[in-house]
Symmetry: C2
Subunit: 372 residues, 2 copies
Amino acid sequence: MTKPDSASLPATLYGVRWEGGLDDGHLVLLDQTRLPKDVVYLQVRDIEVLRTAICDLAVRGAPAIGIAGAFGIVLHLVPLAKAAKATTASALDTAYAHAHERLVSSRPTAVNLRWALERMRDCFDRHSSHLTPLEMCARLLMEAKRIHREDLELCRRIAENGAPLMPQGGGVYTHCNTGALATGGVGTALGCLVEAHNRGRKIQVFSGETRPLLQGARLTALELQHAKVPVTLCCDSAAASLMARGKIQAVIVGADRICANGDTANKIGTYSLAVLAKHHGIPFYVAAPYSTFDLSLADGSLIHIEERHADEVRRPHGVQMSPIDVPVSNPAFDVTPAALITAIVTERGVIDHPTRERVAALMRDQASEPAV
Amino acid sequence: MTKPDSASLPATLYGVRWEGGLDDGHLVLLDQTRLPKDVVYLQVRDIEVLRTAICDLAVRGAPAIGIAGAFGIVLHLVPLAKAAKATTASALDTAYAHAHERLVSSRPTAVNLRWALERMRDCFDRHSSHLTPLEMCARLLMEAKRIHREDLELCRRIAENGAPLMPQGGGVYTHCNTGALATGGVGTALGCLVEAHNRGRKIQVFSGETRPLLQGARLTALELQHAKVPVTLCCDSAAASLMARGKIQAVIVGADRICANGDTANKIGTYSLAVLAKHHGIPFYVAAPYSTFDLSLADGSLIHIEERHADEVRRPHGVQMSPIDVPVSNPAFDVTPAALITAIVTERGVIDHPTRERVAALMRDQASEPAV
């Protein structure tokens, strides 16, 4: 356990990792519920412990949950495979179904978790009749590691594509958390910042605290400190003042969903930053994997703005800070029109000044390219 | 004591008030340290209790502190005057000096407190040699009430001038606290909102919570509920999204300082709102008394941006929410250029699209007009 003062930081933070081999291996998860106060890694060797970690948000971020779930299948099957007397892995059918059910139900709305678990099950279904139980486990571990590696590779490519867009020196403003804690790799927008820093670009990151849940304060500031990237925390409302005083040379954020025309939904406050960046003549970048594009949505007007619970605003971190019954507007995200976006950075390349045609062109390139 | 749920609210909140006559009178202060949880009024009959209330921020807001200080002088002198055997109030010289010193030292940087106490001392100096001790106290009580009444009148005029600018129906966004709790009257920007509501304009106020100290959540939301003005609380970063969705028809804020050309310093986040309002074609109003103008400052570039303590951002309401040693940018206020301001509302009139010439014209009108 390390206290998060910058002197004693481990070199990097990660949300999820497999440690060891098939026989002695286990999952390591950063307990994100204890951040930023304590940096504690959980050693997970049991599917029910993993299930609790997912339910309690000890592990969070869609890609990270999917990766953890995939490794969870292996965790559950290895001891059973060792004890099994059967010659093929089909004997593990019932155990497999149980593990799948326990994990998929831990976060029913998590698309990445469901996707990763289905990919694992496909692998099992294809091979279980011609592999021994232990061979099957080895094959499943390989598949889980592949899922992890693909995400890592995807983040790496986004970071490589985004880093050259960062200023050679100067301030870059970011919002919410888009880093290693939410993904299998270095993250999206945050990955671009870390990569730019590692390439010697002398950037100073300004992390907006990101009310109401303060992911910028709790996670982004911590991750950047660990990566030794100079970071300054500020209230969301200070961004405009920092821009006016010449302290910001670029803004980079992640994305929840990108429409066919480039309109981008992301954490509440993103659109505000895009308008402010435009007013101050500062480039505004979005970094997100290709899978974030939803071509079924022609533009941002079709995105329903979900309202989150009023108490996130009325009772920050459990402390009552407003009249108990005051009505609240607490939109989860906002929509930034493509016209305010300088470029969208994906693992496949950068879309400058995104338009419907340019997004479509990237989709076509994607279709003709081999998978990672 | 009333719990702040909207069903059981007293009709109005006030920060400071004198109750009773000379003989039996006392000061009543709303204990703002207990807001928004509890609405508790303190009955103050002793100068040391008042001093503690000022030191502990039970009473806050520059005009309110000045008014409380003026009444504090009376509180201290009345019992001494009753007991005095002397024929003139000059006998109270030493007691007066003591009271002045105890009060002025309770908040050494509060300009309004110093100003109000000096006005009280001038009154004492002018009359103490020809009035009896009790007559002198009556005169001082009159002077304190006059200071209070002037502030009340000033707020009333600002509210009258600002109310017609509010939309006939629709949303008005405001920031920080500019209400009765900080002044002797109905407040500045908040006064305009209450007055517009009372005149039957069907406004819906959106109160930004105003990080880092959450005056919007703790005070403005509460005051508007008490005044029965429909109010919705939101995170500061949600303002842009509300504007984009057509929910905001005007923005109105207060001011800390206004330069000779109309550039306005106010709570951090104000400038952000001005840029966003401009982008969405929404009028942006500043409401402030004439005394807020500082003609010694030609424009906003001359205003030094004071940084407040990092822990206001790192430890909101005492809860550690970021790495303990992360650097912080926590500017106390920002500067809104006059070009982004639709109008400045003062007690003397409204300056449309403020410029150096229009500000100067108001100052000239002021010079020729009698005092309130």
